[in-house]
Symmetry: C2
């Protein structure tokens, strides 16, 4: 399969969420770097590392889950020369349901020989009111 | 105050966890880049961004909390030229208590004019058995 080449980290991020919304496993895996060190953490889940573990988790998620819709809020970007970090709030909804608890995602992209690819997706639930005045959420484990 | 200069990302990471264990706010903030885009997510908490929000959260955490001890497990590193990503499991204990639920942390460092500095700390609770064979944890929100 011919893989897409992303010329910017933003193109890779757009493709990531499009593949997520379409439950398109090939498109999703085309976004990731083919590397043993890549890391994916789904909300509440374990750390998955390497292309095989990460593919298998997406495969099962796409097979089992409902179609999701994403709105991204409050994007932050921190740009290195070959590695770029995006931080976003994901507002997710499924079908006609009301939006779920927001998710905080750290998405990291690396410039490879075949364009920009995702190397980290770390997602975790945000407390209900992310736009608070800096007060801590109801439950902090640190 | 004279700030430490970290010549490698690993030095910055070591200083981060030492400052965390000592509840040393000045040392902690000396690890972070002085930038509006930096991001810190404590487990279960909101996304904090910019040096002021991040400092205030550490200040309150250090003032309120017990002394913590960290063991880091299963480190992964993804190295760009000016940005480096570390992924670790934090095994945390407080005083004589038994270890708490493990935390998955994504730590990102950037090479600045004054050495390597932290730009992202995203920490979230791992399920109880992180060394599973890739099975998803008991609760995934995606």
């Amino acid at each position: 399969m011919k893989r897409a080449v992303f010329t910017t980290p933003q193109e890779a991020e757009t493709a990531f969420y499009e593949a997520f919304e379409k439950s398109d496993l090939d498109a999703m895996m085309g976004v990731w770097a083919d590397d043993d060190e890549i890391v994916c953490v789904h909300p509440g889940g374990p750390r998955l590392s390497g292309i095989e573990q990460i593919r298998e988790a997406w495969r099962r998620m796409f097979a089992a889950g409902p179609t999701l819709r994403f709105k991204l809020r409050e994007p932050h970007a921190m740009n290195g020369m070959t590695v770029v970090v995006h931080s976003v709030y994901e507002q997710i909804s499924a079908g006609g349901d009301s939006p779920r608890q927001p998710i905080i995602a750290t998405n990291v992209y690396m410039r490879t020989e075949s364009g920009w690819r995702m190397i980290v997706h770390h997602a975790s639930p945000a407390p209900a009111a992310p736009e608070s005045d800096g007060k801590r959420g109801p439950k902090t484990l640190h």
